[in-house]
Amino acid sequence: MDRRDALRLFSATAALPAVPDLLVLGRRLHERLTARPALRTLDPHQNATVTAVADRILPATDTPGATAARVNEFIDLLLTEWTPQEARARFLAGLADLDARARAAFGKAFVDGGEADQVRLLIVLEDEALRLKEQPGPHPEPFFRTIKYLTMYGYYTSEIGAKQELHFEIIPGRYVPCTPLSAASGPPGGD
């Protein structure tokens, strides 16, 4: 990064709605400086939000989680090259709404909340999404379902998800029905 880029970054940051918390400002700056240049739809804050939500959905446990599998990059790719415009706009509006609700609930953007705050808010969103499914008639997919689906799809079709989590073998070499569950390789990636 050269000096001109750094200046542009600072001025862009300064143009954001005033956030009095210097730590938060510093974090934003850090997001911008460390964001992978591959991202083309998500801005650094949106990317940090997607990364945080994905990690709450599929965290690192005894196996790596959504962050290690770079689910955020997959979501950015889909938003850029795959998702219809309307759905992309809905997704980005969903991210903004998540922040608005985070501010209402715990006074900060989603990414700046603690784990318990974030989980509590996501449970609220999930309940709403599941309730909507019970209701008749077509309705746009709720944001929580969209990001959960994209997170799961991106994770289980990543090399980490397929190999380390599901023990996927490219060439099983044999077909053995009725094997004990523990001995088997996982289901294929993809759908």
């Binding site: 079709t157 053995v176 990636g189």
Partner: protein, 561 residues
């Protein structure tokens, strides 16, 4: 003077490969013309490219498909790996009436659609060959099972079919390699059906052109599960893996890719075809090739199109069309009546390996001696048992560490029955030339007029009800019967546009797949079919091709062509 080949075969797919093999092995100097590009297995086969190496991880390049393959994308196999084996819809257009969609799903390359085919293999029986005669529909087949049985044997021994013999008259057994195994839940359903329906409704493992042991230099299946993407071990049958190499070994084969057939050349005095005019797909130049006999193996619709394109001032309706039946009687199996349900138990069991095959339930309606249904003909089921994977979690409550742990294991078992039904031949279902439109090579395209009728709809409804009944008998829960509304073409079993028959006035081909009007012209792809039965058709096309090739060689020897 231009070279005259003993034989020209148009098409290098399922039947073109067989024509090439049989004709060259009989010593004929044979030219195979293929419209598409060559395929190099080491480069083009992609079955072991894992999902994480694909840009869209199996979700396909949506925008590219919408732009270039808006029709081909309707096929399950036209995915991020195999879409290259399907045509560009803009280069290869066709037209339909707006209210009568037809999906023409096509592959143009050496090997044709044999690369992506479903590999299911079921013989016909006389229940099928006698059906038109019995019902007074269309025309009677000029052959019976006994005519084709030795040719089924012949092709099956080469192809390598794994399957279980059942001794059922409506689904003759073949030359089988050991069958693949049923999984836990499929065994449960098989036993329950046997208890409830006896020999009436039988569940067996799919009969499939995939090797369960090494066979004629090709290796047994390694269960990667992605046959539609090719197979570097040559474990499933396609013409690149099997028939074309056999033809090559004779030293008699000339295979010419990028050769788009434009028309057949015809000598009206001798009533013989003399060759094929092609457009070279790379240079766009016209070239003529000459041959003593011609086999059309270009696919049901392309072979009919070629006959129509070959019209002359004396034969304005096209070649081999004195009956007016070229392009008529277009059929495709009707599919998608069935049911799915959950089968409890066996939660500690799963499968190792990905079996590229499911189960089959042979036709049980309107058998020769059984009760009669309120529709004609019948259907069979494909399907099988499977466990839910992580995808179930999207609509379940939960996220986080415990949720992730729960998704690691598969969910409950389910069992599906998915019906494939017979389509009746119908004169009003037809393809004709649309002279207002041309393809990328300037060749007039087809307009396809095809609709399923009452009988096809009744078959799907019955298939759905009977499937639910069978799942109930197997103790399934949450049984979900369904009737899909798929347009014709989607099953990719199109056939019938140059039918065989007993009378030159009402059929295009005689009992040897030989054009009534033009003795040195043979059509052995799906165009030749006088009815559709409900079985997957490829093995019947292969057997008919081998039989016709043998006959053509006999006629050549007797100097009758």
């Amino acid at each position: 003077m231009a070279k005259v080949y003993d034989a020209i075969v148009v098409g290098s797919g399922m039947t073109g490969g067989w024509a090439a093999k049989e004709l060259t092995e009989h010593g004929l100097d044979t030219l195979v013309l293929e419209a598409g590009r060559p395929i190099t297995p080491a480069v083009d086969y992609v079955e072991h490219v894992p999902v994480w190496e694909k840009r869209f991880r199996g979700l396909r390049d949506r925008n590219a498909q919408l732009a270039n393959q808006p029709i081909q994308r309707e096929c399950y196999a036209c995915d991020e790996w195999s879409s290259k084996f399907f045509v560009d819809d803009h280069e290869n257009p066709y037209t339909t009436e707006p209210d009568a969609p037809f999906l023409w799903l096509r592959g143009r390359q050496v090997g044709g659609r044999s690369i992506m085919w479903g590999r299911q293999v079921y013989r016909w029986s006389d229940l099928d060959f006698e059906a038109n005669l019995r019902d007074g529909i269309a025309v009677d087949w000029p052959i019976r099972y006994a005519d084709l049985a030795p040719w089924y044997d012949h092709v099956e021994e080469f192809v390598g079919i794994s399957g279980e013999p059942l001794g059922l008259p409506q689904l003759p057994d073949g030359k089988f390699l050991p069958p693949m195994e049923l999984n836990c839940v499929e065994r449960v359903v098989r036993e329950a059906l046997a208890k409830r329906f006896g020999r009436e409704r039988v569940l067996t493992i799919g009969r499939v052109a995939i090797l369960t042991q090494n066979h004629l230099g090709r290796a047994a299946c390694h269960y990667c599960g992605n046959c539609e993407r090719g197979c570097v071990t040559l474990s499933y049958f396609n013409s690149i893996n099997s028939t074309l190499p056999a033809a090559q070994r004779t030293g008699k084969l000339t295979l010419r890719p990028y050769s788009v057939a434009r028309s057949l050349m015809y000598d009206k005095k001798r009533t013989r075809v003399t060759g094929v005019r092609v457009v070279d797909a790379q240079t766009k130049h016209d070239i003529e090739f000459h041959g003593r006999i011609i086999f059309l193996c270009a696919s049901t619709l392309e072979s009919a199109r070629l006959l129509l394109l070959s019209a002359t001032p004396e034969l304005p309706n096209g070649l081999a069309n004195s009956s007016g039946q070229v392009g008529r009687n277009l059929m495709d199996h009707v599919m998608g009546g069935g049911a799915r349900g959950r089968i409890d138990g066996n939660l500690d069991k799963t499968d190792t390996g990905r079996r590229p095959n499911g189960i089959y339930v042979p036709r049980f309606r309107n058998l020769r001696d059984g009760p009669k249904s309120p529709f004609l003909r019948g259907y069979g089921y494909q399907g099988g048992g499977d466990r839910e994977h992580w995808g179930r979690g999207v609509d379940q409550a939960g996220f986080g560490a415990d949720f992730k742990r729960a998704m690691r294991d598969p969910g409950p078992w389910h069992f599906s029955l998915y019906g494939f039904g017979e389509c009746l031949p119908n004169h009003d279902n037809y393809a004709e030339l649309d002279k207002t439109k041309t393809d990328a090579y300037g060749i007039p395209v087809l307009k396809i007029n095809c609709r399923f009728g009452e009988n096809e709809r009744a078959i799907l409804t019955d298939a759905s009800i009977a499937a639910a009944e069978m799942l109930a008998a197997a103790g399934a829960h949450d049984i979900n019967p369904f009737v899909e509304n798929n347009p014709p073409g989607k099953t990719i079993h199109e056939m019938g546009t140059a039918r065989m028959g007993r009378d030159p006035k009402t059929s295009v081909l005689n009992g040897w797949n030989q054009a009534w009007d033009i003795p040195n012209l043979f059509i052995t792809d799906g165009a030749c079919m006088a009815s559709s039965a409900c079985q997957n058709p490829s093995i019947t096309y292969m057997a008919l091709t081998a039989r016709a090739a043998d006959h053509a060689v006999e006629l050549l020897k007797r100097r009758e062509l």
